[in-house]
Symmetry: C2
Subunit: 568 residues, 2 copies
């Protein structure tokens, strides 16, 4: 694979470059256009997905224990009918440790090349995987193709670049010499990069590939085998990826057990059996703040990287683009039914009236504008389907029902939620956004994450109170994406300072074609590690550096080469 290697080396070099420049770049295409992928690609992808249904999914990994799986499509509300091999942690971990031993001898360059081959192989399954993501996570096809596809692969590539940088920060060998009086003293040194052990990568239900690919890549390049534990309703997209990565490893002459999978069910969760093992050294967790915090408090002897969730806020002090602001916020409240870790929830209005390019606007009128814009965005079932997708979990329906019932005590419903009729899937579990108006008194509600399309428009006495509340919520309850709108320099400066102190990344005055939720690989840092929304950042040096350690071996120059007897 020499030509492929050259190409991959060029990709790696470019990825490292853009990690430093933070400019826009992608190695993958975001467009599902047949002009790029060929006329047959969409149909072939769909057929490949459908071929998985109602069949056992074959995954040739060691020590399988029975068959299980109970995924239900949020679009058809029918079981996918797929079962997967259950996991025997002893067998899988033994195989993973054995794979780690041989992988340890492979140099970082070669590891990176193989990892990039994996990403390119996954790219070939974007159509298939987009359908698999739809029917497990509830994403729309386009989000499954772009966000869970190209963008997730970019994040995998970004992790390859970072992990490679860390692994090549010092050479694998060196010569050290100095003159001591008349004597030259010289040592040859070899630096062994030692992996930590098995990495358990735990995925969330709604956007598994987005954090899984970077975690897998960060672990593999640094030498650690991965056991992927998908969410019980998000197995298929990860199973397709795992099987594919195993094939790439085997094709290139490496042990496929560097990547294995641990499928479980809600009734019989398997994560605990890995957490208690000494050979599991790393946990990469994406999921609820509740379990993430539990891990942070209870996992003692392992490296732990968490990305959980929080209460994302938008602060509105003023705007020089009322229409653009309202459009961006409305879009973000609808997008994938706000089931993203970057979805906004709390919209803090900085006073009874907001200065805009269209004059001063009262809080009621601004709320009405926002509701109208949401209405317009989900006006037709086709629009709603493309934007909102489906609800991954019944829990979001229950949440919406509950909040709706409690609305009178919180404030008042500004927009009632409701399902929309999906044009292709009449049984789909759908929702358009619930919007509740309130003042700042309903603290218990406002300082809790409500997973799904529920948001609050909160009136404050002034913009600084709004800012203070948004920042303290981020600091105490976590936030991954925060926004503020203002056309005042002084306010933006105060907002920047407040959110930096709160440990929450912030975007100002974002309007236009890119969703508020967008985080660009190589440029945007996802999660700060400074608030309860996670302890790690995808991806910075700190995400990769500790995944391996260095053991040094040194000896007097040339003494291991020619001078010694051959002992055999």
């Amino acid at each position: 694979m020499s030509a492929a290697s050259d190409k991959n080396a060029a990709l790696l070099a470019r990825a490292i470059e853009v990690c430093s420049s933070r400019e826009q770049w992608s190695a993958f295409s975001e467009s599902p256009s047949t002009k790029i992928h060929g006329e047959e690609a969409p149909g072939r992808g769909k057929a490949a997905f459908e071929a998985h249904l109602n069949k056992p999914f074959e995954l040739d990994q060691p020590g399988s224990a029975g068959r299980l799986g109970g995924e239900i499509s949020p679009y058809t509300m029918e079981p996918l009918g797929i079962d997967y091999p259950g996991v025997d942690p002893d067998a899988v971990c033994a195989a993973a440790v054995q794979a780690m031993r041989s992988w340890q001898a492979v140099d970082p360059d070669r590891r990176a090349m193989v990892c990039i081959e994996m990403l390119k192989s996954l790219e070939k399954r974007l159509f298939e995987n987009a359908h698999a993501t739809m029917h497990t996570a509830g994403q729309s096809f386009m989000m499954g193709f772009v966000g869970s596809g190209a963008n997730a692969l970019d994040r995998g590539m970004e992790a390859v670049a970072y992990a490679y940088k860390a692994m090549t920060d010092i050479p694998q060998s060196a010569l050290w010499s100095r003159q001591l009086g008349p004597h030259r003293v010289a040592f040859e040194k070899r630096y062994h990069f030692v992996p930590r052990g098995i990495a358990l990568v735990m995925c969330c239900a709604t956007f598994p590939s987005w954090n899984a690919y970077p975690a897998i890549m960060a672990n593999l390049i640094t030498g650690n085998p991965v056991v992927l534990k998908p969410h019980p309703n998000g197995i298929l997209p990860m199973a397709i990826a795992v099987r594919d990565m195993r094939a790439v490893l085997a094709t290139n002459g490496f042990d496929p057990n560097l990547v294995t999978m641990a499928v479980d069910t809600p009734e019989r969760p398997v994560a605990g059996r890995f957490l208690e093992r000494a050979d599991v050294a790393i946990i990469d967790f994406t999921g609820s703040q509740r379990f993430g915090s539990w891990l942070e408090k209870n996992v003692r002897d392992k490296l732990l990287y968490t990305e959980t969730s929080g209460v994302n806020s938008i602060v509105i002090e003023s705007t020089s683009n009322l229409d653009g602001m309202v459009d961006s916020i409305a879009h973000s409240l609808c997008l994938f039914s706000a089931q993203m870790c970057t979805s906004p929830q709390n919209i803090h209005l900085g006073g009874a009236a907001i200065e805009t390019d269209q004059g001063s606007i009262g809080a009621d009128d601004l709320s009405a504008l926002l509701v109208e814009r949401i209405d317009r965005k989900v006006e037709t079932p086709g629009q709603a389907a493309g934007l909102c997708g489906a609800l991954q979990s019944q829990a979001s329906v229950d949440m919406l029902d509950g909040l709706s019932r409690r609305a009178p005590e919180i404030g008042g419903v500004l927009r009632e939620w409701g399902g929309y009729a999906h044009p292709d899937f009449p049984n789909a579990r759908t929702a358009t956004p619930l919007v509740i108006g309130t003042d700042n008194s309903a603290q218990d509600v406002l300082r809790t994450e409500h997973f799904g399309p529920a948001s609050f428009i909160i009136r404050h006495r002034n913009a600084d109170e709004a800012l203070h509340r948004a920042a303290s919520t981020a600091h105490e309850h976590g936030a991954i994406a925060t926004h503020a709108y203002s056309n005042r320099h002084d306010f933006l400066d105060r907002a920047e300072q407040a959110f930096v102190e709160a440990g929450a990344s912030v975007t100002f005055n974002m309007t236009g074609p890119i969703p508020l939720n967008y985080a660009a690989a190589y440029s945007d840092l996802h999660v700060t590690g400074l608030n309860p929304a996670g302890n790690a950042c995808l991806t910075d040096l700190s995400f990769v550096c500790d995944r391996f350690r260095i053991v040094q071996c040194r000896w007097p120059e040339a003494s291991r080469a020619a001078d010694l007897q051959d002992g055999t």
Copy 2:
């Protein structure tokens, strides 16, 4: 300080370069020669040290609480008579947090320049600090000057380089743009490097500066204020350094409370009061494995970097330089009375007879050679004084007495320990090495660290048994410096593999003018983090990367510059 800045920038660039090449380099002189430092430097340094004695040490830091200090010189066995301000953790931490706020606004380049100024300022006190180190740690003057001086400063500079690398891995700002159909979308981004909080740097008694300087520098460059907690009998060298660093900070217009000191006594330890504080975010600990392990198990909410101790082994399979090997080992058993974390303790003989360049030699004869060489190295009081220094703690005397008494059950005394008469300090607490011969049965003794000049020559049936025992001891009980001697390729390869698996760095066939204990800044990695001798490595990327985190701020291009109204 523009000329100084240029010079410091060149030093930083060179330090970063050698961290990658791992070649020999130093920014400081190891020689106390008056040709370098001037005729008056030695006398002036001694006088400066003596001027501290029997006086209050003035340290103008916030919230001092009483005076304390009870250091005793291991050379005179008299109290130094110095008292220091006691610490009020509330006041010191409040001042440190305030200093952190202003320091956070200083860019990494400027921080690095100031840190290098500190190191250069400390260099000017090498003579003074060498005497202070002698009379607290018990080091010989030369070790105090070189090991605790130039070499420790080198390690500080190495940490500056690493921390600077980590802080500049991404730019402080970036422009991201992409074309979306007809639209160019562009964001300006600012990356805020946010410190974690106060760093408590806890020093050991015998070699405080060696880990303190790198920890201080790693923390300062990444934005974190340092509270230095010296060992109750190792205050003076650290107090001199702290006062000096505070002066450099103030002279350069920065808040001196970035570096403060927390002095305590064995009766009223103060570390716990910092450990329980939320504003203390980082612990850098050097000291006993017992307390280090306690910290590793109990410190939950802070970053923790430990360097403790272990049971260092030497494995002898064969040698092509019997004389050199015996000389190096004997030297290392004497050096600073084996009170270094790199001092060997267990010498494993790989069989009843060892092949050498002088023919096969029996275990008894090899042991006798080693004992003779030790005898010769400490033959005169002057030689012994220069090599062994003094015992920092009475605990080492008790340890030697205890082992000597138990020797018959362990095996037998090959060399009895005893004080030597120091030529300059007749009351000095001194020792020449105790050597005990044993077989592999005394596991409880051999798998425990005996801090001070005690070693064991252990007979094994064969070299692989010796290797296995040394490696498993390192793995289970920690090791920082391991050695093996062999002229067989196959054995060296097996040894390399065994020690890499044990997570213990190893040196092969080391002889000549450089002590076995030597670890070169920029080249040798000190502590692997893979065995109980510590969880960190001084210095690699992992030692610095997590000491800060990144909060991102982004906004549409140019929207914060010209387009906005001035809100004031």
